[in-house]
Symmetry: C2
Subunit: 510 residues, 2 copies
């Protein structure tokens, strides 16, 4: 087991006798942790999958899967045929030392990039929904005055999947169990038992560094954005970069904190490094696991490049993990935060997995920012309501949350398949892009079905609300194709099919 | 029924056959409404209690009580022996017209008073609790290292009175009843059924103008302060006046919105008009029904003077009705907001009546500000969680909330009586000031029990946490007496007695 550099391979050993799935997960977690802690340093060459499998007494497929997963996440890098190395994207969790630099100095450095010009800051143009709220004009552009029969707006889960009976039972249990003092003014960071439960769940499911001490319960990703916005504004930042295409809602939220937003162009791998560097911003909001709305998963290179940029400008990254739990073809890519918990603010919520009406979410905050975020949370609302927090803790620790995710996953995967089949049947030639994940797809309908304006108008007249991709960014390709952001999760499979058929009939006639 | 000016007295007629208590309330509401609507104009002389009682066919006592109540609230004024008139404090709800002035002009006028000087703004000095959160060092000043056996901190209700079974039942009912869409992103103003229920309850109990359209559900008075603070800051204000003595917590909340705070001196009737006028502020936070912490109820004159000031400077008043439901000797004085709903932002919560951990409250907002407040609420958290909102609506409409208030009222009245008796027995000579209301008293312990520092230290050594009045304002009388803010509501009667006895023993020995 020696001979592979200084790495203590024995530490990676999953519990013997555990089921293969758990051993695979344990191997991945151990590898991530070894990279983060610096036990596996950048440039270390990993043993071949065959050798490590033999060493550990596990199947080779399990090791291959672990290497692939961590390569996708940016912890490892591999050259086809030439082996796998430890990458340099991950920042050791407990060893930032002098490289970190004081905030004051950092600010001065930031200024050297020049402040984001007012002219470049276009806060929240367009009525898009995105990871946050549904747009106010809910029927969507071009819906006209027709009655909406099928509304393909993205961002809302199927609310009929909310586990009412289980939630009600957990509420009853919680009210019977909570102490009297627990009903008093809450801890603004969140109920300790929930922070503990979420830290465990997020470490396991999303590969993050989730110390309960840096976990702040908040009322969702929207509030996480506002909290972080106020903190960054108080530190002298004046703009935040957002992905283009992306969620204009972020722009509105940051505007409320006094921050402008700058659209930053995206390609098929993630944020493009040069425009990012040239923008002058020192904070960005990104959706690397499943980019909203384009549907791509950021490449490992771009994940690493983003973190490199953040360190260079002493900046921060807000990772909006709005639907990271829903991947249908493989295990979800681990969150960016795991690679550098001191540069990435990770935010998620139960809005897609349970219900947006619960207004319950979480942030993992760099140590450097956590006191300021908590004080902001305190002055904003003194902390989240305790009963729902206690119910969610119960739900997570007793397995109800995992069950709910599996249930949603099955339902949404089916609906996505149904949508793809309906598009293939009724609007042949339509190309769907993005990974098999989430609650929406990007569909590019060829120009032969009519120019975009007419296509949308016809669909609206037929009672189908569709949202063009243009609402989520600045791109205007002008090639005559219709690019749509189609949310399917809240619709029954038959409604999905009926909606696409209605569109096809509407755009077909003349 | 004519002969009493142009007033349509018949409109005041309570339903015949209704129980006396309800007829009395109906008469009061009708009188308030007649003054507000302008049907009874300022200066109109009211019929004698005898004449009106005869006209309406009710007892004279009922009319006398109504006149007294509305005089205390500022709607009427009376000269002993010379009759009762309609006062000029109330502003007709729907008839502000040109007198209102556009915001821009108003801002310019405000500037003429001069901005609050930085030197005068002392945001949140002192660790006080007040209407908001309990202070972080919960054991109180002087508690030293002794174990705290009795903690007389003010501001927390008895959490064992929380109606767990009834709340749990309402939760179950709500989860069985709510539609699926109700679990989606909430209305940032609050659940319509809750706003409807609260508007009715507040009109009935607190004499406010509570149109559901101007009611905003929020997470408590702390968030109401922050929401209003951001809105006023965006309108160009830079400081808010707070009562001295008062709640330093308000200072911390406003500081988070960029507003300074200015202490404004209080006497035994309310805010003193001259320092208020000289301060240059255009917004104040007040607790007129039961001033925190002094315990006075503002006089009708000062209520009128405050509204007169607000109109003159085009300003706003935040009425923190933190414990307006708990009055033990008579009906609570109606809220200030009823007199001028376009100048007063009324804020209340369930923190004292149910539990602070619910983080559930409400604001009544002038029409002029409501859109800005709602947009702030939206960017802060998208709206309150829906399940607790639905449960509270159920509770209010089915009588559970009134039952809970009666239950707390009985318990707290008894504890207050027990506290007063214990002070009289164990620390004779102690004077308790303030009205019979709320969850705390102000006690002035004569200097013969030792100088304040020693008194507090001795109490702390004996395991009793006490808070000096000094923590809540700038006054330092230096007369050797010990002024205490004693919260009793969260303690059992026996703990109240034991705590005072411990203090007496501790300060008695030498």
């Amino acid at each position: 087991m020696s001979g592979h550099g200084q790495a203590a391979w024995e530490l990676l050993l999953p519990a013997a006798g555990a089921p293969a799935r758990r051993r695979g997960r344990a191997l991945q977690e151990a590898l991530r942790e070894a990279v983060r802690s610096g036990r596996l340093t950048a440039g270390t060459r990993l043993p071949s999958t065959r050798a490590l499998a033999a060493d550990l007494g596990v199947s080779r497929g399990l090791v291959t899967e672990a290497y692939e997963q961590l390569t996708a996440e940016g912890y490892l890098r591999s050259d086809r045929g030439a082996g796998t190395w430890v990458g340099d994207a991950a920042r050791a969790t407990h060893a930032r030392g002098d490289a970190r630099g004081p905030v004051a100095g950092a600010r001065a450095r930031g200024d050297a990039h020049g402040p984001a010009a007012g002219a470049r800051a276009r806060a929240g143009s367009g009525p898009g929904a995105g990871a946050g709220a549904r747009p106010r004009g809910a029927a969507g552009r071009g819906a006209g005055r027709s009655e909406v029969r099928v509304d393909f707006h993205p961002g809302t889960p199927d609310l009929s999947l909310f586990p009412r009976a289980a939630w009600s039972g957990a509420q009853r249990a919680v009210l019977a169990r909570l102490t009297h003092p627990a009903l008093g003014y809450p801890d603004p960071r969140g109920l300790p038992e929930l922070r503990e439960a979420l830290a465990g769940m997020l470490t396991r499911r999303r590969g993050v560094v989730a110390d309960p001490e840096r976990l702040v319960v908040c009322s969702g990703v929207a509030q996480a954005s506002t909290l972080l916005g106020f903190v960054l504004r108080a530190r002298g930042l004046d703009a935040v970069g957002i992905e283009d295409p992306g969620s204009p809602e972020h722009g509105r939220l940051f505007a409320s904190t006094g921050l402008g937003t700058v659209w930053l162009p995206l390609d098929e791998e993630g944020l493009m490094p040069e425009p990012l560097a040239a923008s002058g911003v020192r904070a960005v909001v990104v959706t690397p696991s499943h980019q909203f709305p384009s549907g791509i998963s950021w490449s490992a290179e771009r994940r690493a490049a983003l973190l490199g940029w953040a360190r260079a400008v002493d900046g921060y990254v807000l990772e909006d993990d709005y639907d990271g739990d829903f991947r249908y073809d493989r295990a979800p890519v681990g969150a960016l935060q795991g690679l550098d918990p001191e540069r990435v603010v990770y935010a998620g919520s139960v809005s897609k997995s349970l219900a947006p009406g619960l207004r319950l979410g979480w942030m993992l905050v760099p140590e450097d920012l956590v006191d300021e975020v908590v004080e902001r949370k305190r002055t904003m609302d003194l902390g989240n309501p305790v009963l729902d927090q206690a119910v969610l803790a119960e739900f997570v620790t007793r397995g109800g949350y995992d069950r709910q995710l599996r249930r949603c996953q099955r339902a949404y995967r089916e609906r996505r398949d149904v949508l793809l089949a309906a598009l293939a049947e009724h609007l042949p030639g339509t190309r769907v892009s993005g990974i098999a994940a989430g609650l929406h797809v990007i569909a590019r309908v060829p120009g032969r079905y009519g120019p975009p304006e007419r296509f949308l108008a016809r669909a609206a007249e037929a009672g189908v609300a569709l949202r063009p991709l243009e609402e989520y960014g600045t791109a205007r390709p002008g090639d005559g194709d219709v690019r749509l952001v189609i949310g399917y999760a809240h619709l029954s499979p038959s409604a999905v099919t009926a909606g696409i058929r209605l569109v096809a009939e509407a755009v077909g006639r003349d």
